[in-house]
């Protein structure tokens, strides 16, 4: 197949295709299957979404979610402190994922995939 400029240009962007990066939602999703501390969250989020959050971004999201009452700290394990989802956090996560699901279904249908 002949190489085209279009293909070359797209290939550079395609490395980022398929990633999803909304730090608070990713943190909520990571905590959905149980409490985790910061490092475990980073690893889990990288597996979940392909996006590797920076420590500053992660703790920015954690501080915001804790202020909003969507996650809560547990007793520290040495210097690491695990976090869990609150009931409100679980409800917000479910609502956001449902919205994403609907969006994904409509989008995929329109793309005929």
């Amino acid at each position: 197949m002949p190489r085209t400029t279009h293909r070359v240009a797209v290939s550079a962007q395609s490395r980022h295709a398929g990633r999803y990066s909304d730090p608070p939602l990713l943190v909520l999703a990571s905590l959905a299957d149980g409490p985790k501390h910061g490092h475990a969250m980073l690893e889990d989020i990288a597996k979940l979404s392909g996006a590797r959050l920076g420590p500053g971004t992660l703790y920015g999201a954690i501080a915001r979610l804790e202020r909003d009452g969507l996650i809560a700290p547990l007793a520290p394990d040495e210097r690491r402190r695990p976090y869990r989802l609150t009931t409100e956090g679980r409800r917000v996560l479910a609502a956001q994922l449902q919205t994403l699901k609907n969006l994904a279904q409509v989008g995929l249908r329109r793309l005929a995939i």
């Binding site: 910061g38 980073l42 920076g54 500053g56 690491r80």
Partner: protein, 848 residues
């Protein structure tokens, strides 16, 4: 990340955040590496948290507004001082940004094509000039290696000519690209379209892209040029092109040996190129293939489709980026080093200016503290001033830097010096350069604020409120360190500038083996029907010789004499050649005779079997022997050497080849050289114009002055480009150093007014106090000079490695620089010291 670094990062966050998340955040940071980008993110989040932590946002904003007003008011009270602060920053930013716009492309910026690391230039290491034959490339394209996307970018001599723009003829250099060029090298187009396969045909109008610089320079960046037709006037007739695209500013050229293009057109594929046609194709390696694998694969296919006369066919792949940037990297490194030294001088001067400012504000800051202002409140005042200086300095600096970048871009030599081509990478003043310039400006201002900020927040308040003019040891010690640093940097700059400058001067003034002053080239173009014969040339030379003021007339060029043999040597080096010298050659070029004699008129007329060699030839052909009386053979005729002349340079960037001259009877070629003062040239031209039609009907003559530039156009571009830039940067840094040294010494002496007054009051003589002050500062200065000279030992190999002049002596530069700077230090100390010792001690002590 190391624990101390993690601890520092956590301190960026507000205190409540640190108490709540500090320990766990540190644990997370220590468990993983942090990239620069992640570090920037952390700073952003820390700033965000700090903003959130401010409870009374409106109050905080009002406080900051108050600080801004206070700083602006203090600037209005001392406008010259404020202007000096801003100009110092602007100077550093302008120089760095302007130079960085040139150096970035050669040193840091990737090529503007996607996956550019996969692009390679294909060469034949066994061929001369290391190029594949055009027929090889045709064969490779037709082979199974189509996925490599063989692409060619070459000058299309036949299409180049004059484009008529606004009634004026403008020379335009036309390049051509092979079919599918943009599929391999995805040249960014600013506007328009790619060439289609149908465009690669011999039809007119020829679709064309305009090069960005040509478009901006000649068409004022007019996008309406798309679709317009241009007529190119060539020697073979007019050709019409239609503009279908405009190349992006990131694109310059890919041709190492010629100037960048003005117009690019699609090449018409040639299926059967001639045996003497060469090509430098580019390829894009398929994903996963290494360079070695590609070299082996292309070589083996070439061996099959176009076998060589003997042995296997080899190819060599050179990374395209390396090919593009290698020639400009040395100049870029030197420029960037000079710019960074200028920035360093700006940092030193700014630090000293801000220290003097903090000393002047000591009492006021202490009063604020005494009235309850916290340390952070005082620090904020300094930071607000730093932010205002940085903003004003960076904006002014970027504007000036943009202008400097434009000047540099306009002066980049279009032709290479040897293999060093500076026009393959464009000079871009874009967001990247603006970002770097802004960050450097902000860093310089923040760094310069650090010392006064530290001092102000730890001020001995009671002492400051009492009005003491000296405020502790830190500013004094810092000022001494600054003085020594300033002199060390100035030493490095002065020595480097002299080193580079003397190298360039020596390069441009190296012995040529002939004179060029008051020489003119007389070009004679014959009429269409009558060719120019040797007799015509002789007659024209006679006309010239008869003109008043003409010292000598001779041939402009020399013709090759034929095959050269040196008896007793089996093989003659390719560096040794034989040329035919005709009457007037030595006289018109004033060639120095080193030994023996030059030819006489009879020998010219009879083409006698005698020869004159230059000293390079003599040393290479008969090392250690006296050449006069020895024999050499030209075209199987033995010639006896009768004289030795100085070697004649044909390149400035290469050592002269050895030449043996044999006498010839007739002037040949279409050019004569005449030696006459400029005042005589109009009369000479008039006389020749009057006489020449009787000698050669309808002949045209043109007299042009012979200059270094006209003789060595491919050798002097880089030197003439480097010299003013290095001189300006060096001069700028030295001006900053001079002002800084004078200011610092004055400040240091001013700080000791009380001590001077006590010494004078106790009976000390003015001259003794003066001498002591001068000696003390000279000692600090000498220490700085010593550090500078030691640093030169470190910089010198870098300079030697990057200069295109291979040899230059640094000893003179070191001695001259050290003496000059020592004089500056002594003069800078003598004047304020004399002023300080003329004061009335009683008045000073009463005021204290």
């Amino acid at each position: 990340m190391r624990p101390w670094a993690a601890r520092m990062i956590v301190h960026l966050y507000p205190k409540p955040w640190q108490r709540r998340y500090g320990a766990e955040f540190r644990a997370l940071l220590e468990g993983q590496p942090i990239s620069v980008w992640k570090f920037v993110q952390i700073i952003g989040w820390a700033f965000y948290e700090r903003v959130l932590a401010v409870k009374d946002v409106r109050g905080a904003l009002a406080d900051i507004r108050g600080d801004v007003t206070y700083v602006l008011r203090s600037w209005r009270r001392a406008p010259v001082f404020a202007l000096t602060l801003v100009v110092t920053v602007a100077l550093g930013v302008a120089t760095t940004a302007g130079i960085f716009s040139f150096a970035d492309g050669f040193l840091f910026r990737p090529l503007p094509f996607p996956d550019a690391e996969q692009l390679f230039l294909v060469r034949d290491p066994d061929a001369r000039p290391s190029a594949l034959r055009a027929s090889d490339v045709v064969a490779l394209k037709q082979s199974g290696l189509r996925d490599f996307g063989f692409a060619e970018w070459s000058i299309r001599g036949g299409m180049s000519g004059d484009v008529i723009v606004g009634g004026q003829a403008i020379g335009a250099l036309v390049y051509e690209v092979s079919p599918g060029f943009r599929a391999t090298v995805a040249l960014p187009l600013l506007a328009g379209r790619d060439f289609s396969s149908a465009d690669h045909a011999a039809d007119e109008p020829v679709p064309a892209w305009l090069a960005y610089r040509f478009w901006t320079r000649e068409f004022d960046s007019d996008r309406q040029m798309l679709g317009q037709r241009l007529s190119i006037r060539r020697s073979t007739g007019a050709a019409e092109v239609v503009i279908v695209g405009i190349l992006g500013p990131e694109v310059a050229s890919f041709d190492l040996n010629n100037p960048p293009p003005d117009i690019v057109v699609p090449a018409v594929p040639v299926t059967d190129p001639g045996p003497n046609e060469f090509a430098f194709p580019m390829v894009r390696l398929p994903e996963g293939m290494s360079r070695e694998q590609a070299e082996a694969l292309i070589g083996s296919v070439l061996q099959t489709v176009a076998p060589g006369p003997g042995g296997t066919r080899n190819v060599q792949l050179r990374a395209l980026r390396e090919v593009q940037v290698a020639g400009g990297r040395p100049t870029a490194r030197i420029f960037l080093l000079s710019a960074l030294l200028v920035l360093l001088m700006c940092l030193i001067n700014l630090t000293y200016l801000l220290i003097t400012r903090s000393v002047a504000r000591a009492a006021e800051v202490a009063t604020r503290a005494a009235l309850g202002a916290s340390r952070s409140r005082i620090a904020r005042l300094f930071l607000v001033e730093a932010a205002l200086i940085a903003t004003a300095g960076v904006v002014a600096g970027l504007l000036a830097g943009s202008a400097l970048s434009g000047v540099i871009a306009s002066r980049v030599p279009p032709l290479p010096t040897g293999p060093r081509n500076l026009s393959l990478v464009p000079v871009l003043f874009d967001g990247r350069v603006i970002g770097i310039g802004s960050v450097l400006g902000a860093v310089v201002v923040l760094a310069a604020t650090a010392v006064p900020l530290w001092q102000a927040t730890r001020l001995p308040f009671a002492q400051a409120i009492r009005g003491a003019r000296t405020i502790g040891t830190l500013p004094k010690r810092a000022s001494r360190v600054l003085l020594a640093s300033e002199l060390a940097v100035a030493t490095v700059i002065l020595i480097s500038t002299l080193f580079i400058g003397s190298g360039i001067w020596r390069y441009l003034h190296q012995p040529l083996g002939f004179d060029v002053t008051d020489r003119y080239r007389v070009s004679i173009t014959p009429g269409a029907t009558e060719p120019l014969s040797a007799l015509h040339m002789e007659q024209a030379a006679d006309v010239l010789r008869r003109q008043p003021g003409v010292t000598a007339v001779g041939p402009f060029d020399l013709a090759r004499a034929g095959e050269l043999q040196i008896p007793g040597r089996s093989q003659t080096s390719e560096q040794l050649t034989a040329s035919v010298a005709t009457a007037g050659y030595r006289e018109v070029w004033n060639v120095p005779v080193v030994a023996g004699r030059w030819f006489d008129s009879m020998e010219f007329r009879d083409s006698s079997p005698v020869a004159v060699v230059d000293s390079t030839f003599a040393a290479a052909a008969w090392p250690g022997s006296e050449p006069i009386g020895l024999e050499l053979t030209v075209n199987d005729v033995s010639h006896r050497v009768v004289g030795v002349v100085a070697p004649r340079r044909s390149r400035l960037s290469a050592e002269p080849a050895g030449v043996a001259f044999v006498p010839g009877p007739h002037l040949e070629g279409g050019s004569l050289a005449v030696w006459a003062p400029r005042a005589a040239i109009p009369a000479v031209e008039a006389a020749l114009s009057g006489s020449l039609p009787t000698i050669v009907p309808r002949a045209e003559i043109r007299l042009s002055p012979v200059t270094l530039a006209s003789l060595f156009s491919r050798d002097i571009g880089e030197a003439r480009f480097q010299a003013p830039v290095v001189a300006i940067l060096g001069g700028l840094a030295l001006l900053l150093a001079g002002v800084g040294v004078f200011g610092l010494v004055t400040f240091l002496i001013e700080q000791r007014r009380r001590e001077i007054a006590i010494r004078l009051a106790l009976g000390g003589q003015s001259v003794h106090v003066w001498r002591r002050l001068v000696v003390e500062n000279a000692v600090i200065g000498t220490f700085g000079l010593g550090v500078g000279v030691a640093c030169v030992g470190w910089v010198e190999p870098f300079l030697r490695a990057n200069l295109f002049v291979p040899e230059s002596s640094g000893v003179t530069a070191v001695v001259v620089s050290a003496c000059a700077l020592l004089v500056v230090v002594i003069a800078a100390a003598a004047i304020p010291a004399a002023r300080a010792t003329r004061v009335d001690p009683a008045a000073i002590l009463r005021a204290e």
